[in-house]
């Protein structure tokens, strides 16, 4: 059913659709495959980069911790600071001014000193108050309990994410005289440095205010950073997690990594890279592929049109030519100078046209030379011409005294008169389904039931004989009017099984019948000359017997036929005297 939707009236469109469609399918498939592969590769590549980025972040943090711890250890061994710490009572203001000096030395914004018990002794005034020392005290407690030479962790100071390190001041080792605490901010500058190394966008976010996420630091613009902070914030993941996040309509492959934090507030780092940016080089390739695809499609369309034209034009020519031939015009010839199948077809078509013309010509000629029935049978070629035995009714018709008649007329007049006569008689015979076997001078030999068998052949022959007699009367009246002498004929009719077929040499054949029955018919015709019989038409008993309804007939007696033991009974078609025309039964 679906096929019917696409019915093509033009081969060219079919070919066009096929070629262009195939090319389109191939190109679209290639394009889609390339795009998909690029996307997958880009994602994988970004994923790897993100993991590398995460490791770089972790390693940076480890290095930072080592640096801070090293700085703190150096500070803890500073002689002047030890002097200050030795004083009783402790000069906290001077100690603080001393710590400010260290800020520059170790390049951190926050330095604190705690007593071995965790009591804050001095802190640089970046910290607004002692409420911020909680995370330090927690770390000191942890380090003291676990007997560690340093402890570090992420924590919030004034709501800002920091990396904290605490280191003991040994005086002497392993006696802890004080604790140094350093804080390194995880801020926009740190994120920027990380981005410089990893080429990834970095966002630190927290969800410390319950469900409301907060951006701690980011290399993204505030809107995008806010979206990243809010992305899947409710979900708590313990391990790193790679997802594609759409920010401002652009897909970003993002790695979320939770940060171990003091206290309960979760924080995480999100590393990301724009898929679009990563795909930018691949996009160029895709565009080239697309361009090639479109070019190929256009080329295929042109090629299809060209090929279709090459095919459909000769086909249209052939179709037009076929119409002409069907209408009976055999004179035209196709002119297709091509070597391919179409050329062969055109050549074959020309041969066919020539053959048809020849056959038509032969049929015309044959109809004139032989009777139309024989001609038809010959042309149809289903006639067994090898000779067969069949029942045939033979009619012989001969003019009386034509020799003496012809002596009184000029030869041309004789022939004209003869043809006039023969034409009328032949027409009547053919009208009754008889076949003119041959003309023998002024005599006619006609067959009924051959070559085409007919059940009512005897009746046809008799009807033809009657009409012929009538036609002769008509002709005689015409001749009398023309002042010419009249004609008389005799007809003999016999029905017998005879041999029918083509006889003659290999080059020249005649369809005819032979046998005793033929001779008898000829004999019967001769008998009409005998005045004793007084009839122009003599019919054998065989013919009369073959009629379904026997007509009135006068028996003329028996004749001895040569070669036959039994005599043959003959009849005149007229029941009464000679005066009655034979055509009036």
């Amino acid at each position: 059913m679906a096929f019917r939707l696409f019915r093509f009236r033009h081969f060219s469109r079919q070919l066009l659709l096929l070629l262009a469609g195939l090319i389109a399918v191939v190109q679209v498939s290639v394009y889609l495959l390339v795009t998909r592969a690029n996307q997958r590769n880009a994602r994988e590549h970004i994923g790897q980069n993100l993991q590398v980025g995460a490791r770089i972040f972790q390693s940076t943090i480890r290095e930072q911790i080592a640096t801070l711890a090293g700085s703190a250890k150096l500070m803890s061994n500073d002689y002047a600071t030890r002097q200050l710490l030795m004083q009783e009572p402790l000069d906290r203001i001077t100690l603080k001014s001393n710590l400010n000096s260290y800020l520059k030395r170790v390049n951190v914004p926050v330095i604190t000193i705690f007593s071995p018990e965790g009591e804050p002794l001095a802190l640089t005034d970046y910290l607004l108050g002692t409420e911020n020392v909680g995370p330090f005290r927690y770390l000191i407690h942890k380090a003291g309990e676990q007997d560690m030479e340093q402890a570090s962790d992420f924590a919030y100071l004034n709501g800002q994410l920091h990396l904290l390190v605490v280191v003991p001041l040994f005086a002497p080792y392993p006696n802890i005289a004080a604790w140094f605490g350093l804080a390194y901010p995880i801020d926009a500058k740190f994120a920027g440095t990380l981005k410089e190394i990893t080429q990834l966008d970095v966002t630190f976010s927290s969800t410390e205010d319950g469900a409301r996420p907060r951006v701690l630091a980011s290399t993204l613009n505030p809107d995008m950073a806010g979206m990243i902070a809010g992305y899947g914030a409710a979900r708590t993941t313990s391990a790193q997690d790679i997802r594609t996040v759409t920010l401002g309509g652009e897909p970003y492959v993002t790695l979320f990594l939770p940060l171990p934090l003091l206290g309960d507030d979760p924080a995480r780092i999100a590393l990301q890279r724009s898929l679009t940016a990563e795909l930018a080089p691949a996009r160029e390739l895709e565009n080239v592929v697309l361009l090639i695809s479109l070019t190929a499609l256009a080329a295929a369309t042109l090629a299809a049109l060209w090929i279709a034209r090459g095919v459909s034009q000769p086909v249209q020519q052939l179709a037009a030519h076929t119409k002409l031939v069907a209408a009976g015009d055999y004179s035209r010839r196709l002119d297709l100078p091509r070597e391919d199948e179409l050329g062969q077809l055109a050549s074959a078509f020309n041969h066919m046209t020539a053959g048809l013309a020849e056959r038509d010509r032969v049929r015309d000629l044959l109809g004139k030379v032989v009777s139309p029935e024989i001609a038809t049978q010959l042309l149809q070629s289903d006639l067994q011409l090898g000779g067969e035995e069949r029942e045939v009714t033979i009619l012989f018709c001969d003019l009386r005294d034509f020799t003496t008649f012809s002596e009184r007329l000029a030869p041309t007049e004789v022939l004209a008169l003869l043809n006039r006569y023969l034409d009328r008689m032949s027409t009547i015979i053919e009208q009754h389904g008889g076949v003119i076997d041959k003309y023998i001078g002024d005599a006619i030999m006609a067959l009924f039931g051959a070559p085409v068998a007919a059940a009512d052949a005897p009746a046809r022959a008799i009807a033809a004989a009657r009409d012929m007699a009538h036609a002769l009367d008509v002709l005689n009246r015409e001749l009398a009017a023309e002042g010419k002498p009249g004609l008389a004929f005799g007809i003999g009719i016999n029905t017998a099984r005879v041999v029918a077929g083509n006889m003659g040499s290999r080059t020249r054949l005649n369809y005819t019948v032979i046998g005793d029955g033929v001779n008898l018919a000829s004999r019967l015709e001769s008998l009409t000359k005998d005045p004793a019989y007084g009839t122009p038409i003599i019919v054998s008993e065989a013919t009369l017997s073959a009629l379904p309804a026997r007509p009135p007939a006068r028996e003329l007696g028996e004749v001895q036929v040569k070669g036959k033991a039994k005599a043959v009974r003959i009849f005149a078609l007229t029941a009464k005297g000679e005066s009655t025309p034979p055509y009036l039964p």
Binding site: Q87, P109, D125, Y126, Q160
Partner: protein, 215 residues
Amino acid sequence: MNIRRLPILFVLAAATLAAAPGPATLTIHARSPKGEPVADAVVSLHPLDGAAVPPPAAAGEVAQQNQEFTSYVTVVQAGTRVVFPNKDTVQHHVYSLSKAKKFELPLYNPGQNESIVFDTPGLVTLGCNIHDWMLAYLVVVPTPWFAKTDAQGLATVTAPAGRYRLELWHPRLSAALTQEITLTTATTDQRDFALTLKPDRRIRRGGATKSGGYR
């Protein structure tokens, strides 16, 4: 305007002094190649004719205030006692590792007055052990005839007439400039110096007064 008028004032002052026989006056004008005045340039006159040099008259002072030395550059004659009063709210630990005088004044409290005699001429760079940004220069010269340029880059030295080696020093000058100069009684001489200074590399003070730029 002031700068242009000042020389005229000095000329007038010199004219007044010239009336009675007395010392000569030398005016120094220190500028950068761009014409900006250079302060804290030390000029000293060293007699070349073996003239007698009077002993140092007064004591010098390098105070600590608001966790800084005051002042940044101090010039004293060799043999001068210099007091280091702590006028601050925190303790200080002043020291020097310079060849001319190595010393330390261990942590001392506000209100205390420590003092040291500087005998050897030379440059003494002062620091504080617990405040890295604190820096001062004590220039010890073997002559009583010295001066330090002010904010306008001007300094005036008054000395007896005679032949001198003029030395010009500045913390950011790669080497001291010297030249011979003859001062005539009751005259005023003026010398202009174009000083090419190195970048200022003092430690910026962190923390104490600022919140560190965070929040």
